[in-house]
């Protein structure tokens, strides 16, 4: 679609102490497109997202936003660029209620006073658009929400803002059937509105239903970056589980990645 990526990450390395989790990872996000980021458990998807959003500092690599190289040192920097993230570990404040969480860091004020009615109304509108039905009150503490309700609040929090890139890390994992449909629809609609959307998911049906491009990570390396229309379901599954599929993916001679101990039963790779 668009020729220049909105967000371009190149050569990212990231280690936690002695463990290197990302090796020279790259990814492009184009405006108006949904880029699906897939990979096995522990492949490094969430770590990549956290590097991009300034939660982790990366050991090496560059981030280019809108053609310019940027330095993202904290979530504030990312937010300033218009990057909004729904994290897998939701990061809500259990001691605050739904509205307070949704507007955290960007409270509406009138003068110096918080404009609670406006925020409550906006929160209500956004949640309604996400098929939330069983929330008793918007003033309920998020600590008392069900798994799916928490996730919806986190999603609502991120889509409330006019950002340029929205990254969603397994946003539908805990959602019910109707809510999942709503979120996928929302993802598509955001892309159609010109945003760059990154969707992390283990559900291949969802990935193929909604994405334009797929980036596959394998043991902390970019195995492939392809257009969704160019690949099949089973090719992607192969990329995820073994890092390569036909002529796609990582070179075959690489060993099972240094430092990781393979404790998979033989035969489970199929």
């Amino acid at each position: 679609m668009a020729a220049t990526p909105l967000l371009e990450v190149r050569g990212i390395d990231k280690s936690f102490g002695p463990v290197q989790v990302l090796h020279d990872v790259g990814m492009n996000v184009y405006p108006g497109e949904v880029t699906a980021l897939v990979g096995d458990n522990g492949a490094g998807k969430s770590t990549l997202v956290k590097c991009v959003s300034g939660i982790y500092t990366m050991d090496a690599g560059t981030v280019t936003f809108d053609g310019e190289q940027v330095a993202i040192h904290s979530p504030r920097d990312a937010a300033a660029l218009g990057i909004e993230v729904v994290y897998q570990d939701l990061a809500l404040c259990d001691n605050l209620d739904i509205v307070q969480n949704m507007f955290l860091g960007r409270e509406r004020v009138r003068g110096i006073v918080l404009d609670e009615p406006t925020m409550e109304q906006m929160a209500s509108d956004t949640l309604a658009s996400l098929s939330v039905r069983t929330v008793k009150s918007l003033r309920q503490l998020v600590a008392s929400l069900s798994g799916g309700q928490r996730q919806t609040v986190a999603i609502a929090k991120a889509v409330l803002w006019n950002s340029r890139i929205v990254i969603l890390d397994e946003p539908t994992a805990a959602l019910g059937v109707a809510q999942t449909a709503q979120v996928l629809e929302l993802v598509r609609r955001m892309a159609d509105n010109g945003l760059g959307v990154v969707l992390i998911s283990h559900n291949m049906n969802d990935v193929f239903a909604v994405s334009d491009r797929i980036v596959a990570l394998y043991l902390g390396r970019t195995a492939a970056q392809v257009k969704t229309t160019d690949v099949t379901h089973s090719q992607i599954v192969e990329l995820i589980t073994s890092g390569r599929s036909g002529n796609l993916g990582l070179p075959p001679e690489r060993p099972a990645a240094a430092g990781f101990i393979d404790i998979t039963p033989p035969g489970a790779h199929a």
């Binding site: 959003s53 939660i55 904290s74 979530p75 504030r76 937010a79 993230v85 994290y87 990061a91 809500l92 404040c93 259990d94 001691n95 605050l96 307070q100 955290l104 860091g105 960007r106 409270e107 004020v109 110096i112 006073v113 918080l114 009615p117 409550e120 109304q121 906006m122 209500s124 509108d125 956004t126 309604a128 658009s129 009150s137 003033r139 008392s144 889509v159 409330l160 929302l186 609609r189 955001m190 509105n193």
Partner: protein
């Protein structure tokens, strides 16, 4: 994109009965705010009142305010620190240092109160900034930073008072702060202002929500709350404006102690800051989940520094009030039990040591519990050892009333 939807919330009609039912549900569920602490307070008052009828005299009631004031001010500041899950062990001696700075400027340097007090407060701000900086920028645990402060300020106090002198405070304005009363007329005027102000805020908020079609409390409840506060204030002021001099021929003592409105103003200001401003919201957020706050783009370090600044600033006020009450400053000002009592006040009121949970009102309620215990114990005439023991037991009793009335909270898994 959210505007693509109309707001479909069906707002339940607020009814008094429904509200009371909900409230009862919350109480049964253990979500009962300051009720248990107040219950504990009432139990204490009854015990002391029965043991020593003087306890309920007007003069004793008035004493309570100035006796509790310093600890309450310090505790208010500590609430902010505790809300972040931090601790400030140095608050007691910081209050002593600030009081000493004021006393030295007033008495030794001959300054006026209107220049000495600001310098003392500024000292508090500087202390808080230093502590906060060390905690948030160097990353040293606040327990250690403020333990170091506890020791260092104790030393500074000794040095300031050149190795152990006392410095008397003789400035009439400063002395009046903790020792004098407002004239009856002013007492009543302020009371009226307070009640009207409270009513206005409540009603404006009610209308603001109702107009937008948001869920409101029933009007009856709002009115009942206003009436309740009014009744409480009027009763208290009525008692306090009675003549309570032991020897009315020598001197007339009546009116609301000046510290009472001071406490009220601090309570209102900080409650406003915590509850109705962005800063307050961020304090709760950082205390509840630091990482979530950081991810939401909150400048966590700045918040951490600010709470220490507020903590030490309120400690400075506490120190000034203590100096006023004692008419002097000595090397032990702010020492002995001041710190533990201040932290205890906040915790008894319901503030959590783990952060994220607490209100400024907690400091006042908890401070009242401590002041009542101290006051009541003073009337009982125990020996030194007995007094310590009974103070401990009474504190435990007040806390168990609280704990037992919260028991259902645990039973419903709602902790």
């Amino acid at each position: 994109m959210t505007t693509a939807y109309s707001s479909p919330m069906r707002v339940a009609e607020p009814t008094v009965a429904g509200h009371l039912h909900d409230y009862w549900g919350r109480v049964r569920g253990g979500d009962i705010g300051s009720l248990p602490a107040i219950l504990g307070l009432i139990v204490l008052c009854l015990i002391f009142g029965i043991a020593r009828p003087t306890f309920f005299s007007a003069v004793n009631f008035a004493n309570l305010f100035s006796q509790g004031a310093a600890v309450i001010f310090i505790a208010m500041g500590l609430v902010f620190v505790l809300l972040l899950g931090e601790i400030d062990l140095s608050a007691g001696f910081a209050s002593g240092v600030c009081g000493a700075v004021m006393a030295i400027l007033l008495t030794d340097q001959g300054w006026h109160w209107y220049s000495a007090i600001p310098v003392a407060l500024a000292t508090g701000l500087a202390i808080g900034f230093t502590l906060g900086f060390l905690v948030s920028k160097l990353g040293i645990p606040s327990f250690i930073v403020t333990l170091a402060g506890f020791l260092a300020f104790q030393g500074i106090l000794l040095v300031l008072l050149s190795g152990g002198k006392n410095i008397s405070v003789r400035d009439p304005f400063v002395l009046s702060l903790a020792n004098n009363n407002m004239p009856a007329g002013l007492s009543w005027t302020l009371t009226a202002v307070a009640i009207i102000g409270y009513a206005a805020v409540q009603l404006v908020r009610f209308r603001g929500r109702a107009v937008r079609g948001l869920v409101t409390e029933p009007m009856g409840i709002v009115l009942a709350r206003i009436a309740g506060l009014a009744a409480l204030l009027v009763a208290a002021v009525a008692v306090l404006t009675q003549e309570r001099s032991i020897n009315p021929l020598i001197i007339s003592v009546k009116g609301v102690p000046i510290v009472a409105p001071l406490i009220a103003v601090a309570l209102i200001v900080w409650t406003f800051v915590l509850g109705r401003t962005t800063f307050g919201r961020h304090v709760y957020a950082v205390g509840g989940n630091k990482e979530a706050a950081r991810r939401a783009g909150i400048a966590v370090d700045r918040i951490r520094i600010s709470v220490f600044v507020i903590g030490s600033f309120m400690a400075a006020i506490g120190g000034i009030i203590a100096a006023s009450r004692a008419n002097s400053v000595d090397p032990n000002s702010g020492g002995s039990n001041v710190l533990l009592y201040a932290v205890g006040a906040a915790v008894i009121g319901g503030t959590s040591l783990f952060g994220g949970k607490g209100r400024v009102l907690d400091a006042v309620i908890g401070g009242a519990v401590i002041a009542v215990i101290d006051n009541g114990m003073g009337l009982m005439g125990f020996s030194a050892g007995q007094k310590f023991i009974f103070t401990g037991l009474i504190l435990l009793l007040a806390a168990s009333v609280d704990a037992l009335s919260r028991r259902r909270a645990a039973a419903t898994g709602n902790r």
